[in-house]
């Protein structure tokens, strides 16, 4: 009898510990979730659209084709990696409402990376092509990259606001960042 009660108590303790896993992570707000979901769809669409156009951009570029090909390949790979990363975060949020500080930091860094990527395309544009159809695509693509960077920066600002210490806290933080 005593063994059964002790066993039951230990099981309850173990179950409680399991349910508390991930408790150091921070809850993602509805607004943040909505931005991540929207960014994921946009990033997937952007990567697919660029896949279709990239060979045309390289072909339409008269000079420095090796460097342009390298640049275009980088842009394409980055767009796919961003889409994959955002999709993974979306997957994490289907199993909970939290994200770790690491994921928040990585996403915040990605905001700066995306901003730099959009600036790179703007700076590279004059080396790319004079073909009107390709230029039209690049203008639309540039606008999409700028919008993507803006959304990521908005997310970063929300994460920074989440991390800021609140004035009315009843207990000290127990999950300080390493």
């Amino acid at each position: 009898m005593r063994a059964a009660i002790i066993s039951a108590a230990l099981s309850l303790v173990a179950v409680t510990l399991i349910f508390s896993l991930g408790g150091c992570d921070k809850k993602v707000t509805d607004q943040e979730k909505s931005i991540i979901a929207s960014l994921t769809l946009d990033a997937q669409e952007r990567a697919a659209a660029f896949d279709v156009a990239k060979s045309q951009i390289v072909a339409a570029t008269p000079n420095d084709s090796a460097i342009v090909a390298h640049f275009i390949a980088n842009q394409s790979d980055s767009l796919h990696a961003l889409a994959t990363g955002l999709q993974s975060l979306g997957g994490a949020l289907t199993n909970g409402s939290n994200l770790s500080q690491n994921a928040r930091d990585a996403l915040s860094q990605e905001a700066d990376t995306a901003t730099a990527r959009a600036a790179d395309l703007r700076a590279m544009a004059k080396y790319l092509t004079a073909d009107p159809a390709t230029l039209t695509f690049l203008a639309a693509h540039q606008a999409a990259l700028d919008a993507q960077a803006t959304s990521l920066q908005q997310l970063k600002a929300l994460f920074v606001a989440d991390a800021a210490p609140k004035l009315k806290t009843s207990a000290p933080p127990t999950c300080a960042k390493k």
């Binding site: 099981s11 510990l17 991930g22």
Partner: protein, 138 residues
């Protein structure tokens, strides 16, 4: 610089993926400790070590940059975005693992509840059996 960065990304990506796969395998045999490793120490190590060491801040773009300078910056940006994707994948794995554990824990809760009910029921029957009125019926 361009070549070095490209090489480091190519080398580091699969290593990190292999670490994550190994951690996931370890989880199957070690449960709790591997979960903590996957969600905490491993991701911390990836993020702190790899990002900080191999992927420094993106340099400022000159006013009139050459294509080579833009491409070199692009290499760094790609490396950082790849790292973001890896961290995000680890995050997804972490929460999938916790979700699976919680489902398993819910099953344990129901087993424990059944056990507790059985014990309480046993006590109740035993107590009833000792009552004079019930004993008389027996």
């Amino acid at each position: 610089m361009t070549t070095a960065l490209s090489t480091s990304v190519a080398d580091i990506g699969p290593q990190i993926q292999a670490l994550l796969v190994q951690a996931a395998k370890d989880f199957k045999t070690n449960n709790g400790s591997a979960v903590n490793e996957l969600g905490g120490d491993l991701v911390d190590a990836i993020f702190a070590t790899q990002v900080a060491t191999y992927f420094p801040a993106i340099p400022a773009l000159p006013a009139d940059p050459s294509p080579e300078a833009i491409v070199a910056r692009g290499d760094l940006e790609l490396a950082r975005t790849n790292m973001f994707a890896v961290v995000a994948q680890a995050e997804n794995q972490h929460y999938a693992t916790i979700h699976a554990l919680k489902l398993s824990a819910a099953t344990e809760v129901s087993k424990v509840a059944t056990g507790v009910l059985a014990i309480v029921g046993g006590f109740a029957l035993k107590t009833l059996a000792t009552m004079p009125a019930v004993a008389k019926l027996g």
